[in-house]
């Protein structure tokens, strides 16, 4: 991998990510929105790849593009009672506008106060083996905590979908 990120590739991927996000928000068809979400996830994986984060990019494709977005599509298609229901009316509301404005303000503050942390680059890009060693030694405890949280969510989802009282 080269030391500098190729600007052409970066521009293409950045355009794909931001353009996809705009398309996802502007389309009225929820199924199209889900497919745009998928496109954004793949483009984000491309951005990770540009940063030499090979493992992260692959996991992004496998988990987010390959599984989460299938799940999103699946749920959307299961809950639509008729095909025409996929096209949602445009429903502006004050609450939504206020939340959007607050989020925009928070984002603006975060970007203006952002101080880039430039760490020292390692000699060579760490491979997946180095990553695994680091994750299961230094970051062992956070990893286990995260997996416990996910397990609790999983058990909760099963309990909930059964009706709650062991039926």
């Amino acid at each position: 991998m080269s030391e500098t990120v190729s600007p052409v590739m970066f521009l293409i991927l950045a355009f794909a990510t931001i353009g996809g996000a705009v398309m996802m928000l502007s389309t009225r068809n929820v199924v199209h929105a889900a497919f745009w979400l998928l496109e954004i996830m793949v483009a984000t994986a491309g951005l990770y790849l540009l940063l030499s984060a090979e493992f992260l990019a692959l996991v992004q494709v496998l988990v987010y593009a390959g599984a989460v977005s299938v799940l999103v599509l699946f749920v959307i298609m299961l809950t639509l009672r008729r095909r025409e229901d996929a096209i949602r009316p445009y429903e502006p509301s004050w609450a939504g506008t206020i939340i959007a404005a607050l989020f925009l303000g928070a984002l603006y503050m975060a970007i203006t106060r952002f101080v880039p942390v430039i760490a020292e680059m390692p000699e060579k890009v760490p491979g997946v083996a180095d990553f695994g060693r680091e994750m299961f030694t230094t970051w062992m405890l956070p990893f286990e905590v995260a997996s416990l949280v996910l397990l609790a969510a999983l058990v909760g989802a099963v309990w909930w979908s059964k009706g709650g009282d062991g039926r």
């Binding site: 496998l62 299938v70 298609m77």
Partner: protein, 333 residues
Amino acid sequence: MSPVLSAVLKFFAALGIMLVNGVVMIYMLRKVLGHLHIRLGPMHVGWKGTMQTLMDVLKLLTKEDVTPRAVDRWLFRIAPAVVFVPSLMAYAALPFSNTWRIVDLDTGLLYTFAVLSLVPIGILMAGWASANKWSLLGGMRAAAQQIAYEVPLLLSVLPVVLVAGTMNLGGIVEAQQGYWLGFIPGWFALNPLMWPTLLVFMIAGLVEINQTPFDMSEGESEIVAGFATEYSAMKFGLLFLSEFSNQFIMSALGVTLFFGGWTLPWIPAEMNHAFGPVIFIAKAYIGIAVMMWIRGTFPRVRIDQLMELGWKRLIPVSLVLIMLTGLFVKVVG
């Protein structure tokens, strides 16, 4: 050679393998299934019907491309490409020999599965865009199968990674060199401890590429042709080309992970290196023949049985297998 030129050549090489594989496999499918059914298969065009599939390709290319009025136009057009492109990308990490591979990835195994996991999305897209109940049912089945079987498939290859100590597909092949007791090849398929893993891999792999007995997304006896119902001409051709190609990739992965990849036992290493790609492709086609044998022998399972098998049996079984293999590696290694 300049890197750009070599990348372009490698791309066309992968595309060439994919196209030739499609033509060869259709002929093979007809012949193998024909003989399993005690009939001859195609016999008239060319010697023993060998030219039949070429004629079929010409037919597909010159057929009228029908787009029904009710379809979701954009998704309908993109879907065959969304199925085709990941299938083509999956060739990148396959080790045809110790030097013949498109890229040498340390995460080759993960890469192949990540790319293949995009195929069912294209199928779901095709199913939805067709605006047809059968198509949608086919697409939904493909998605449900994929959600259920992605986990056991990935978990089933982890014991191999644990024993080989690498996710590089070439490295996994190299870990299978050498002999047990002096003469049994070191292939993981010949290690009794790996047999449950191999079984889980075979089942989950067949589900992942929608092969009989798990091809409910196509299910021609119940939902016409599933996701492909509304497709015609070369769009249909692309959908099926990638299906055949996925079969080749899954078989090649099985060969790499369990059957020693490009190597043959008991012959000198120079011979292995010289004939690597030939051996690899021959092994992959033996795997495909086994898939066709399964296809000609087993009835299609029901979708609810399939879901139960995936969630309630294969996932716990593969988790236990990983734990046992981990213990084994820790104790022995």
